[in-house]
Symmetry: C2
DNA sequence: TTGTAGGCGTTATCAA
DNA sequence: TTGATAACGCCTACAA
């Protein structure tokens, strides 16, 4: 069954292809008889005609595709974000090409090249640590790049996501208000912006409240469950435990809990644990995690909207949007008073 | 910065575009001087030329895109599967368009239409219950369709996934061998093939072993955590509990565990629980789930390979591949002997 | 208000 | 062994 082309429509409607093209593109500049327009519209519907996007590209040099580059699509945070992106994109007639960098810098670079070849009109980037250099390559080709969830070390690309410092500030403050004084922190990977921001917020509140930051209570993780579990084991080996531990993300927090429980410690009676993200796992785990909810789906929608506004060169090109987050008072921390 | 075209290459190499085209497509039918070929190849590399895929489509009428339609990309099983699909696809120069049906039949139909407009060369379908009718529409357009993980009620489309009956057979048999006799079952949604197959396998083993299937021990769920939790509550309200409960997937199994624990029951001391899937959550939960591992990533790779073989009309067009699964002996069931 | 014609970058057919 | 040329389906400047 051959595809319907603009010629089929033109023939059936008894007009030239130009007229059909104008109707299907809703060309308002040219005036045309209402009757003609309606007739063409009817035939378009009858034949179920849609312009061939590849042919259209030839003239317009616009692909109608945007690229999304994430570290790991099987991380639910990112898959939710992608759902948000797709939602907005399809509504606006854009398709989405997703690239999973597999947490590898190598693949990330490779995909930047692929996206260029795909002639995407814009890129949404959540980097696992790519250098600015490579990203600049995109902007040099006049392809707008918006960062989602994770900022880059340098450069001032538009960004949509939460304010990690503020989030951490709120969470740490909440623990302090509950009565916790000796609070440890499990850091995330140093090349990821959210990780460093969250650590910074923690430090800031601790200092503001004149609380001592014990070096032994600071550990390094990489955002995986496993690294949380290992850090948890390190914690229980200390001669004296902190009263609570904040992990830079939920997955590590769950890992910590598992390690602590294995040693017979009870959460939150013996020690409090908190994380960031409020990933679905966080409420399925027992005890439910105290955490900061980051609205992945909404971030996806916002970042797509902003990218499209850049692509379409709308006058108000928004640069950055900090999303509201929400403190989830789970069961993994309790009032000490 | 303008894109390099075939003309730029031709000019720089001092040959015609035809020659460049032949080199870049590795046309083996036509013989050409080795020297010419090498020169062109060098220029292609120098200029970093890649054929414009949109222009190429115009001639070939092949988009180089395959479509993937899943019920929910934020379900880790599907996102892992997608990773497998993308892995193979990119290796073969194909891009992937992902459609998230959001577990809705309505959207599923809509996306079938979109995929047709996108002129995908093939479709990988994991249906949340679409009618055969709609899928036939695709095959009528000569677009190959391969089912992943979930079969359709009717029609004999190629399929890649596990054998739900067999999986369930193995799991149930394992419980029986442990000494369990009164085994309940929480069913999944009736329109999903894996759910009905797993129930069938359970029934079969129970009957073969002359074990009574107590109607009160059969409940209906919909694959969500919530439905597992609710079913768990129904179970504890029974005057007499079964010795073990099998849920048609892991998420529901975890829900059951949560409900049972809330009533003070201990797993596996008081009652055993098992599921299907071995999703990452299953090993993060306590106790670790007894379950059947379904290799999502490998299913993705296999289904992509098979789809590509159909697209390329290779001689050996594989129809179906049943993937090996693995019994995970977790801690949520124990030997009663 | 509507139509004609040229060209976007590529590949395939035919000719040289 | 290589090259000229006609499509592929659409959009748009220009013509009518």
């Amino acid at each position: 069954m051959r595809k319907v082309t603009i010629i089929d429509v033109a023939r059936k409607a008894g007009v030239s292809l130009t007229t059909v093209s104008r109707v299907s593109n809703n060309d308002t500049k040219k005036h045309m008889r209402k009757e003609t327009k309606e007739r063409v519209l009817r035939v378009i519907k009858e034949l179920d005609y849609t312009p061939n996007k590849y042919a259209r590209f030839m003239k317009r040099q616009k692909s109608g595709v945007i690229g999304v580059l994430v570290p790991d699509i099987s991380d639910q945070f990112f898959s939710l974000m992608i759902r948000g992106i797709e939602n907005i994109s399809y509504q606006n007639g854009y398709s989405v090409v997703i690239c999973d960098a597999d947490n590898s810098l190598e693949k990330e670079k490779k995909y930047i090249r692929i996206l260029l070849k795909e002639m995407v009109e814009g890129v949404i980037l959540t980097s696992s640590g790519i250098e600015n250099e490579k990203v600049k390559k995109l902007t040099k080709e006049r392809i707008p790049v918006i960062l989602a969830d994770r900022k880059l070390k340098t450069g001032d690309f538009p960004y949509v996501g939460s304010d990690g410092v503020k989030d951490s500030y709120i969470l740490t403050k909440y623990l302090i208000d509950l009565g916790y004084k000796e609070i440890g922190f499990l850091k995330g990977p140093s090349e990821v912006a959210t990780a460093t921001e969250r650590f910074k917020g923690y430090i800031r509140v601790m200092e503001q409240n004149k609380l001592i930051i014990n070096e032994n209570y600071l550990k390094q993780g990489d955002y995986t469950f496993q690294s949380g579990y290992l850090a948890g084991k390190e914690f229980v080996n200390l001669t004296k435990l902190p009263q609570a531990i904040i992990a830079a993300n939920d997955l590590m927090a769950v890992g910590i809990i598992r390690a602590l429980e294995e040693k017979g410690l009870r959460i939150p009676q013996d020690i409090g644990v908190a994380g960031f993200g409020n990933i679905p796992l966080s409420s399925l785990v027992k005890p439910k995690l105290t955490t900061i909810e980051i609205p992945a789906y909404d971030i996806g929608r916002e970042v797509a909207l902003i990218l499209l506004s850049h692509i379409k060169r709308k006058r108000k090109r928004i640069k950055t949007k900090i999303m509201d987050t929400k403190l989830i008072k789970g069961e993994s921390c309790k009032s000490l008073k």
